[in-house]
């Protein structure tokens, strides 16, 4: 119950301070338009042909940046006096953290819908049924949510919200660009291919593209699902531990 109230609080804060919607609404739209029209011709011979590549790419990139907001939000909360009050309330003291992470789910949902809708408006027409679109949406959200725990941990361990933000930005940029999000792996130089193969983001995007191409649950998709669950299983306890320490 307290977790629900805390999630509601985070939501209200976002409504009061709409720049927090920037990264889940403006960013995917902007990237989709920019990348689509700038590189579509060069990479795939046209915007339309590029869309099946870029829609999953930008979807995951958006998940990365949406989930990284979790860390700086937590750090900001911890540094503000309001946290003292949360702690002195007779509630489970984990509620603020839980509220943050459940509130994140909504942001991830919004980001997913925005990314996919923008793709659709630009002419992306997946051949698989709507059910599979929901599946890739859920897989993306789960991935984003797993990363939220990781970024939350970073936020808890970091010195300042500014430090968290720059760390998040760099991580987001490196992980999304050093992958197959925007270009085919084959077009990369050898060393970059190695890095991209080590990058988990590549696997997530591949899994989503495969589902969209074949309309079936693939081995890769299962791998990603397992990986997401593993991340939550490892980082949720670590994050809670770091939170307790604060």
């Amino acid at each position: 119950m307290n977790t629900a109230t805390m999630a509601y609080r985070n939501l209200l804060k976002t409504v009061h301070n709409p720049d927090q919607f920037m990264d889940v609404i403006v960013q995917p739209v902007m990237f989709m338009l920019m990348f689509g029209y700038l590189f579509g011709g060069a990479i795939a011979g046209g915007v339309h042909a590029y869309l099946p590549t870029i829609v999953p790419g930008i979807l995951i990139q958006t998940m990365l940046s949406a989930s990284s907001g979790s860390g700086s939000q937590i750090r900001e909360d911890l540094d503000s006096g309001v946290f003292d009050r949360f702690k002195s309330l007779p509630m489970a003291h984990i509620a603020p953290l839980a509220g943050q992470l459940f509130g994140d789910i909504l942001r991830l949902i919004i980001a997913t819908i925005t990314s996919l809708t923008t793709g659709y408006l630009m002419g992306w027409r997946p051949t698989v049924g709507f059910g599979w679109i929901i599946v890739i949406g859920l897989l993306a959200i789960l991935t984003g949510w797993a990363l939220s725990w990781l970024f939350a941990l970073v936020g808890l361990l970091a010195k300042s919200a500014g430090a968290v933000q720059s760390f998040s930005l760099i991580t987001m940029l490196v992980l999304s660009f050093m992958s197959n999000a925007f270009v085919p792996l084959k077009s990369l130089t050898k060393p970059l291919q190695v890095i991209a193969h080590l990058n988990p983001v590549t696997y997530v995007i591949t899994a989503i593209r495969q589902i969209l191409a074949t309309g079936s649950w693939t081995h890769e998709a299962l791998l990603v699902l397992g990986f997401d669950i593993l991340i939550v299983a490892i980082f949720a306890p670590l994050t809670v531990w770091a939170y307790d320490r604060n």
């Binding site: 509601y8 209200l12 006096g81 946290f83 009050r85 509630m91």
Partner: protein, 330 residues
């Protein structure tokens, strides 16, 4: 809902506690905190009776906030024990936390929300039902004259409004015990007086208040008892009157008009007071234990036909206490 019922039960328990009078509102024993190898709070012990206003007075960096944070379970103590209405804050943390409200030194309200949303959310987090939370929010907004800016973003709030909201949030559950860390720092004189009035009202309604302050007039005006803290240690404890007494009591000074009468006046004074008589030219100064000693002195002087002028009686201020007892960080 469940929590609300629990809260009520807890409050009843607390009130029973008060009725028994054996239960202290707060018992702090041997509280100690080190940051690194610096002892910030050094073996502090005190008790606060129900209904009392207890002040922690000390210069910057004395350890007031740290002490308060340990009592209110925000910070783990390295050593020592705290009981709130008889409940150990470590063993029965949740129960203890339900019995007090806290207004920290730095505004602990949500900047991103409006005053009403702040009150609503904290009311819900305190276990009030939606209906009860709404009602309490309206009550508090009125009580703290915030109803006109209730839905404005806090960014546009003045320091005084913020402070009032902060206090209002602490009072949602009508706690029997309230902690205020420097409640009036940074407020203009008018807002400060308003805050004092609010605190006095709380006390009238039966609340126990613990406040920290650097302002001596504030401690003097509000506190029943004071602990003067410096470098993490309690250097003196007592009522404001007792503390002033210790610093030398009331000072009496006057000038003897005739040079020839000075010696007689000194003799006369020495007979009346226990302390030494200080003399500079024709001016004489003594410390009085009580103001009541003044009349016999003046009567004796009149009977001896010694005329005086420039009579001044100066009661000690807590400023004297502060200066005499504390060294401060710097």
């Amino acid at each position: 809902m469940i929590y609300f019922v629990q809260g009520d039960l807890i409050k009843n328990k607390a009130q029973e506690g008060i009725a028994m009078t054996t239960v202290k509102a707060i018992e702090v024993s041997h509280l100690t905190k080190k940051f690194g190898n610096k002892t910030v709070v050094d073996d502090i012990s005190f008790e606060v009776q129900p209904g009392e206003v207890f002040g922690l007075l000390g210069p910057n960096g004395a350890g007031k906030t740290t002490t308060l944070r340990m009592i209110t379970t925000l910070l783990k103590a390295d050593a020592g024990q705290v009981k709130i209405f008889g409940h150990d804050t470590v063993k029965e943390g949740r129960l203890a936390r339900s019995m007090f409200g806290l207004t920290g030194q730095y505004a602990s309200v949500d900047e991103g929300l409006s005053a009403r949303q702040n009150l609503m959310i904290f009311a819900r987090l305190n276990g009030l039902s939606r209906q009860a939370a709404k009602q309490r929010t309206t009550e508090l907004l009125t009580e703290f004259s915030l109803e006109h800016s209730a839905d404005k973003a806090l960014k546009n709030f003045s320091g005084g409004m913020r402070r009032r909201l902060d206090l209002a949030v602490s009072l949602i559950t009508r706690p029997a015990l309230i902690f205020l860390d420097e409640p009036t720092t940074g407020l203009d004189p008018r807002t400060r007086t308003q805050m004092w009035t609010t605190i006095r009202q709380l006390v009238q309604q039966g609340s126990t208040v613990v406040l920290t302050t650097q302002y001596l007039d504030e401690a003097d005006a509000l506190a029943d008892r004071l602990a003067v803290i410096d470098h993490g240690k309690v250097v003196k404890m007592g009522t404001p009157a007792e503390l002033k007494q210790q610093v030398g009591g009331t000072k009496l000074a006057f000038t003897v008009n005739e040079q020839t009468e000075v010696a007689a006046a000194v003799k006369l004074l020495a007979a009346q007071v226990s302390g030494a008589v200080q003399q500079t030219g024709q001016q004489l100064r003594v410390s009085l234990k009580q103001l009541a000693q003044l009349t016999p002195i003046l009567t004796a002087l009149t009977q001896a036909k010694i005329t005086i002028s420039q009579l001044s009686v100066q009661e000690p201020s807590l400023d004297d206490v502060f200066m005499a007892l504390t060294v401060g960080k710097n």
